[in-house]
Amino acid sequence: MNTDSLGFIFLSSCLINNFVLAYFLGICPFLGVSGKYETATRMGIAVTFVMLVSSACSFVIHLILVRLGANYLQLVSYIAVIASTVQLVEMIMKKYSPALFRALGIFLPLITTNCAILGVALFQTNREYSFPQSLVFALGAGAGFTLALVLMAGIREELDLTEVPDLVQGTAMTLMVAGILSMAFMGFAGLGGS
């Protein structure tokens, strides 16, 4: 398969190099918000949206910075874009969907420090993706993030009903489960190159 084709980029960022389980990006919300199936889904959608917007913005910013020869400003400007996108999403959501806004609560501003989003912006710059490629890459990363979060939430809801040794409960347990999930995702490597 052509590694530059849009379909492959989507598949690769979603499954083969899943952001959470292979690159370890966005671990904080992965551990923190994966307790309940419903919040996990919403968080996934919000993150995917912010990823798409910030990916488009950072593509344009990269072009401008290259023209100005000011590459050293890359990191500072990316993070500024992400912070303002999150702010924007927050305001839009507050106006049009107050219920969702309340449900996400504190997690919304925390998306700013979600490394998966900055990761998308940095990876697409490093790999010199074109504009449509960047968008598809962001979409795939978001879908992969949502998938990992929802899978984890499903497993954790089941675990709540079983008897687990006292000491193992909590994060240690979640990490072990994540390890097994990550091993399962390694199976997707068979689909094609890195």
């Binding site: 389980l21 292979a22 690159y23 370890f24 990006l25 966005g26 671990i27 904080c28 551990l31 050293y72 990191l75 500072v76 993070i79 500024a80 912070a83 700013t112 420090t113 979600n114 490394c115 900055l118 990761g119 940095l122 990876f123 490093n126 000491l167 193992v168 994060t171 240690a172 347990m173 979640t174 990490l175 072990m176 994540a178 390890g179 097994i180 990550s182 091993m183 390694m186």
Partner: protein, 201 residues
């Protein structure tokens, strides 16, 4: 002086940013597949942490409350850019191995957390001690992860072969899945130690 030492030790173990507060997990998992990588990451993060804590603390009376988070992130991003160029100058290999994860120090919640909850409320001296404690705690955590994973996964320590040619490396340990397992096991151990200490006291 002894008060400072107390703060330092407390940050190092009882409030270890990784094992107890569960902050900054992303770099701990991602770059801990070898000793050299994890040491470089630990030192880089500590440097950024110390510089940004001291600067935030110096500016604490001049930053308006409404835009403080944005200001903190800008300060942190500046130091991270600096560190990225320093690492590139010292060793291209390490820069290549760590890749985007150097830039991702910006979104390490430990640094923003210290800026927001400690440095913005305390004088520079105190902020410095706090940052050093947290930084060393982080470095220790990531280094212990790196050591375990490299010894098990490639049978070597910092590139030096330990077991000879007969050793069959435990490959899974340097792959992503192994990172989760080792961190989970370490958390279990820390829980266990802290609990038995509490029972005694």
């Amino acid at each position: 002086m002894s008060e400072n030492a107390d703060v330092f030790l407390k940050k190092l173990w009882e409030e270890n940013p990784v094992f107890v507060q569960l902050l900054g997990m992303c770099p701990v998992l991602a770059v801990s597949n070898s000793v050299v990588n994890s040491l470089a990451m630990g030192l880089a993060t500590t440097f950024v942490l110390i510089c940004s804590s001291v600067l935030v603390s110096l500016l604490r009376n001049h930053i308006p409350k409404q835009v403080r988070i944005a200001t903190f992130i800008m300060i942190i991003a500046t130091f991270v850019t600096l560190v990225e160029y320093i690492i590139q100058a010292i060793s291209l290999d390490i820069h290549k191995a760590l890749g985007a994860f150097i830039s991702l120090i910006v979104v390490n919640c430990i640094i923003l957390g210290r800026a927001e909850s400690f440095a913005s409320k305390n004088p520079p001296g105190k902020a410095f001690v706090d940052a050093v404690g947290v930084g060393v705690g982080f470095t220790l955590a990531i280094l212990s992860m790196g050591s375990i994973r490299e010894v098990l996964g490639s049978g070597s320590f910092a590139g030096v072969d330990l077991f000879g040619a007969g050793y069959e490396p435990w490959i899974i340990m340097i792959l992503p899945g192994g990172g989760f397992f080792v961190l989970g096991a370490l958390l279990l151990a820390v829980n266990k130690i802290n609990r038995s200490r509490k029972v005694k006291a």
